[in-house]
């Protein structure tokens, strides 16, 4: 049976809904200690003293550990994927409220929690900086010196740089944007902002480390077990094979559980006390772990009389918080798409990753692209308004098409930009009459479209094992956090080997067992691991044929695998292991101009269409319709693909309407689900998800990743629809009813008081 395109439920769904699936939270080991974290209460300060005496004296407390204890075990206890800037526990300084300063270990987590309250710390408070633009000035320095990790060659030039908060400055130059702007008939400039928000997986961070003889096992909720293994081995100065990282299913990740989070901490603690140590964060503590960048984006476009975009300059400031995490990659790998899915000859992009005294920022479902699309698609709509051109027509005139060079210099290919846009516009019925409402209820509609390039170059390795009875198991380092990767790989292997996906056993994410994978991130898995898996299955098939030949079976005979094994080994014995690695070809961009003829192996396209109804008396608005269309290549499992699109859109809806980390003096004042509001079932509008089928020729059976594409257009499409309804423009996320009413009153000349 053909496996590709089968609409099947996820393989693990029964285990999940019956409560049988494994999660790290359920793991307990004999002799295990629970760790509870004592956190900084100041945003920036020099540590003068940490008083742990009372905590140590509490009955039942095993040990209290500070950064200095860790420094004795690991002389340079700093970790991170892009920079080695984050101490396992704070050393010398604290750089954001909530930074881990000490850990209490106890057999009873309640005692550990109680003891944490008995710790006190004295700090020499330093001035703090929270705003990404303000932090461009070197008045307040979050770090004295930059410490790039060396993992990424293009960050090496930053090594040892001091006197700055800029962790990465990325530049792209195509054509001559300044000259083209000077010649343009219209020059239009705006500044858009986004807020700091966070992943808030319903499974908070949790890790458990078990020390062994000359080795360490880590059970953890993490999206990148291979990286954890490499980084823990580096910290201890060990070979990789002494570290084992096991990841069961995840209760959500969204980019939050990438690289190292709690793993270095539990590993160090377990090695110090020589007992298993588990740390499970509360929902509230997630607000101090990793977030989504707040941004400021200054965008300027030059347009000709004919409505063609001739130039665009983009300055993007990414608020990276106190530690770099993967922020510099976000600033670059998303930064280069900041000019949008448009065919513009003259483009310049300057993208800055900036340290501030906030919770660190990393990747969140879209790797920075949703922040960019918010700005460039709001801007695009405003240009159309100013020029008096229909926003759909204006976009059509300027959209980038296959065969044309993107601003990075790479010629676009297998990117269904016009097709996705047409799908949204067709569903909207853009050419049909539209009910604009009356009285105090006004209706409007808006569209938006975004483009993302998958991060490159990254590697995946896969194994496919055919047992002697013909049953087949695949081994993958991809972490299935709800996106359906296990099922997708089973479909791919099934397609190659002539099996039903349901018959294929999936073993995932145990670094002693599963081969290397760069990480489950940025919609890369289906393409990279999917390709590796297809090749591994083909390798297994070839080896099985070779086995048949060895067994003396004539070429082309149709023996089932079990017969081949029996013939070769005389009984049910042996197995065939197919393996393959996949890394796409890639040309590194020129460091000065960002130009490359091969900057990414595939492009993602997502478009949204929105109808809103605005109450002009209150600013409250209702999303009447939310359409999301994505370029999904060839859908392997259309049902799961559609839920990925709608899930992404709902998540972005939260970042558009309600989610914001509110800061007061560096303190997050709404660090709980009661006060940081993610969408509930009552907030979900009428939604439509469309898979615009195409073919990613380099992808496994034509497929490409789609985990993020549903986020791209949501925010600007809503702002554009509100503008269409009531003529006011919101420049900053989230779009609240209050913001809309304030804009309406300001337009009428009766602005509301500030308070």
């Amino acid at each position: 049976m053909n496996q590709i395109g089968r609409e099947i439920p996820r393989l693990e769904v029964r285990a999940k809904v019956t409560g049988r699936a494994d999660y790290t939270h359920n793991f307990r080991l004999p002799g295990m200690l629970y760790g509870k974290v004592f956190r900084s209460t100041v945003p920036h300060g020099r540590i003068l003293e940490i008083d742990t005496e009372a905590a140590r004296a509490l009955a039942g407390v095993h040990r209290v550990i500070t950064g200095e204890d860790i420094r004795k075990l690991i002389p340079e206890p700093y970790y991170g994927p892009a920079f080695h800037d984050q101490p396992i526990l704070a050393l010398d300084k604290v750089r954001h409220v909530g930074e881990p300063v000490a850990v209490v270990l106890a057999s009873d987590p309640h005692i550990a929690e109680q003891a944490v309250q008995l710790i006190s710390a004295d700090y020499e408070e330093l001035p703090a900086v929270y705003d990404e633009v303000a932090a461009m000035a070197p008045d307040i320095l979050v770090h004295d010196v930059l410490r790039p990790a060396g993992t990424f060659v293009d960050l090496k030039h930053l090594k040892g740089r001091g006197g700055t908060n800029v962790a990465l400055d990325y530049h792209l130059r195509r054509g001559d944007a300044d000259a083209a702007l000077a010649r343009a008939d219209h020059v239009i400039e705006h500044i858009f902002k986004t807020q700091q928000c966070l992943h808030l997986a319903l499974e908070p961070f949790v890790s458990l480390a078990e020390p062994g003889d000359q080795r360490l096992t880590i059970y953890t909720a993490n999206q990148s077990p291979s990286f954890v293994r490499i980084e823990i081995a580096r910290l201890f100065g060990w070979p990789e094979n002494r570290v084992r990282v096991k990841v069961p299913y995840l209760g959500g990740g969204f980019g939050g559980k990438l690289y190292i989070k709690l793993e270095a901490l539990v590993a160090a603690l377990a090695m110090i006390v020589r007992r298993p140590v588990k740390i499970a964060l509360t929902m509230e503590e997630q607000f101090y772990m990793i977030t989504k960048h707040a941004t400021t984006f200054r965008i300027k476009s030059g347009v000709g009389k004919d409505g063609r975009l001739v130039a665009r300059t983009c300055e993007v400031y990414w608020n990276g918080g106190a530690y770099a995490d993967i922020g510099p990659r976000v600033a670059q790998k998303s930064g280069f798409t900041a000019a949008g899915p448009y065919d513009i000859d003259n483009v310049s992009v300057d993208s800055y990753e900036i340290y501030t005294n906030r919770t660190p920022a990393g990747a969140l479902r879209g790797f920075g692209v949703p922040q960019l699309v918010w700005a460039y698609e709001s801007h695009t709509d405003l240009i159309a308004h100013q020029l008096g051109i229909d926003p759909v027509e204006f976009r059509r005139k300027n959209l980038l098409r296959d065969g044309r060079p993107h601003a990075s210099g790479t010629v676009l290919n297998d990117a269904a930009i016009p097709e996705v846009f047409d799908a949204v516009v067709a569903r909207m019925g853009w050419d049909k009459p539209f009910d604009r409402g009356s009285g105090t209820l006004r209706r409007g509609r808006g569209v938006a479209i975004g483009l993302k390039a998958v991060i490159s170059p990254t590697t995946s390795v896969a194994i496919v094992n055919i047992s002697a009875d013909g049953s087949t198991t695949l081994y993958t380092g991809t972490v299935d956090m709800g996106q359906g990767s296990d099922t997708a790989y089973a479909l791919i292997v099934g397609e190659v080997l002539g099996l039903n996906a349901e018959e294929v056993r999936v073993v995932h994410s145990d670094t002693d067992v599963t081969p290397y994978d760069m990480g489950t991130l940025g919609s890369r898995s289906l393409y990279h691991m999917g390709n590796a898996m297809r090749l591994a299955a083909e390798d297994a098939r070839a080896k099985l044929r070779a086995l048949a030949t060895e067994a003396g079976l004539p070429e082309g005979t149709n023996y089932p695998p079990s017969e081949i094994f029996k013939k070769r080994y005389g009984m049910q014995a042996g197995n065939v292991i197919g393996t393959a690695s996949f890394v796409p070809s890639y040309t590194p961009p020129d460091p000065q101009t960002g130009q490359s003829d091969n900057v990414t192996p595939f492009w993602m396209v997502g478009g949204s269409g929105v109808e809103v109804e605005v109450d002009t008396e209150t600013g409250r608005f209702r999303i009447v319709r939310l359409i999301n269309a994505v370029d999904c290549g060839k859908p392997l499992n259309p049902g799961v693909a559609r839920t990925q699109v709608s899930g992404a859109a709902i998540m972005q809806l939260g970042f558009t309407l309600s989610e914001v980390m509110v800061l007061d003096g560096g303190q997050v004042t709404n660090a709980s689900l009661a006060d940081y509001k993610i969408p509930g079932i009552g907030d979900i509008p009428s939604m439509e998800a469309e898979l615009v089928a195409g073919e990613q020729h380099s992808g496994p059976f034509g497929a490409k990743g789609i985990g993020e594409s549903g986020t791209f257009g949501v925010s600007p499409a809503i702002a554009n629809a509100i503008h269409d309804a009531v003529g006011v423009r919101i420049m900053e996320l989230p779009i609240t009813a209050e913001a809309v009413l304030r804009a309406l009153r300001a337009k009428d000349g009766h602005p509301l008081d500030d308070e």
Binding site: H110, E113, E617, R620, L752, D754, E755
Partner: protein, 290 residues
């Protein structure tokens, strides 16, 4: 959460005797929907909780008294009130308000007494019940007293209850032709605490409003009756001009606070609009067959 002691008295009197007027870390718990959040957030760390689940079942009873009042025992869950046929027949506005209160999981365990005694101005039940003229019965170690519900609230999370007093019941007079409505506005997600609650009740006589009660919640530090707005509505017609005037009076009179749900300036605008809408809804819903 740090361990604590939990006791399960078999009677209300026993429960009250276990409370300590001087000891804020000893508290009664019924549904626990508010207290548990405070405990998880570390805002409240009890030494002992007095669980009320095993006191006499009569304290959860809902029924009609000889005088024709509706009496709701403090241990009745919000779901029990929502599904009670006497409540639905006599006070449909209460049934409707309960359907929008938090979610079924919370309503299944939260109890009326706690929903009134908690003193959080964002809760839905207090404004509706104040507009309906509710009186509460309060039991202490020595005496039982009665109070109009509106007099319970002293400030933000503050009531006039002593630490060893518990609400045992709430009594609601028959509607007697009064019209009533409750409207709330959430400003973040649909299931959020409201930014503003407005409850109204009044009699309509010859096209004019009589004896109005106007209550504002959520935007103010406590559930508050608005005397000037009531004055504006007394004898007023139900046209836009009159209702807008009352809305303006309400917006000027109420001391509205800025918080995470919105600025005071914004919530004043909401009150202006929603007072009018609440009166309209009371008229509409009375017209509709129940």
């Amino acid at each position: 959460m740090i361990p604590f002691e939990m006791v399960e008295p078999r009677s209300l009197d026993e429960a009250i005797a276990m409370l300590d007027p001087q000891e804020p870390t000893i508290r009664a718990i019924a549904g626990g929907t508010a207290l548990m959040l405070m405990m998880k957030a570390g805002v409240f760390q009890p030494t002992r909780l007095i669980c009320l689940h095993k006191i006499e079942p009569e304290h959860g009873h809902i029924g009609v008294t000889g005088k024709g009042d509706l009496r709701i025992g403090a241990m009745a869950t919000l779901t029990e009130v929502e599904k009670d046929s006497n409540v639905a027949a006599r006070l449909p506005v209460l049934t409707r308000a309960l359907l929008t209160l938090s979610n079924p999981r919370v309503r299944n365990v939260a109890c009326v007494g706690g929903a009134l005694a908690h003193g959080d101005p964002h809760m839905d039940l207090p404004p509706v019940l104040v507009a309906l003229g509710a009186r509460i019965t309060i039991k202490g170690p020595a005496q039982t007293r009665e109070l109009p519900l509106e007099e319970l609230y002293a400030g933000y999370y503050e009531t006039v209850l002593e630490k060893n007093e518990l609400i045992s019941a709430v009594t609601l007079p028959a509607l007697d032709g009064r019209k009533a409505a409750y409207m709330k506005v959430t400003s973040r997600s649909a299931d959020d605490w409201p930014a503003l609650g407005v409850a109204v009740s009044f009699t309509l006589k010859d096209g004019a409003i009589r004896d109005p009660i106007v209550v504002v919640s959520a935007a103010t530090e406590k559930v508050t009756r608005l005397a000037n707005a009531e004055k504006m509505l007394q004898g007023a017609a139900t046209d836009d001009t009159a209702l807008t005037r009352a809305g303006n009076a309400a917006a000027e009179e109420a001391s509205i606070l800025t918080d995470a749900h919105g600025s005071a300036a914004y919530k004043r605008e909401l009150l202006r609009v929603y007072l009018r809408r609440a009166v309209r809804r009371a008229l509409d819903e009375s017209a509709a067959p129940q």
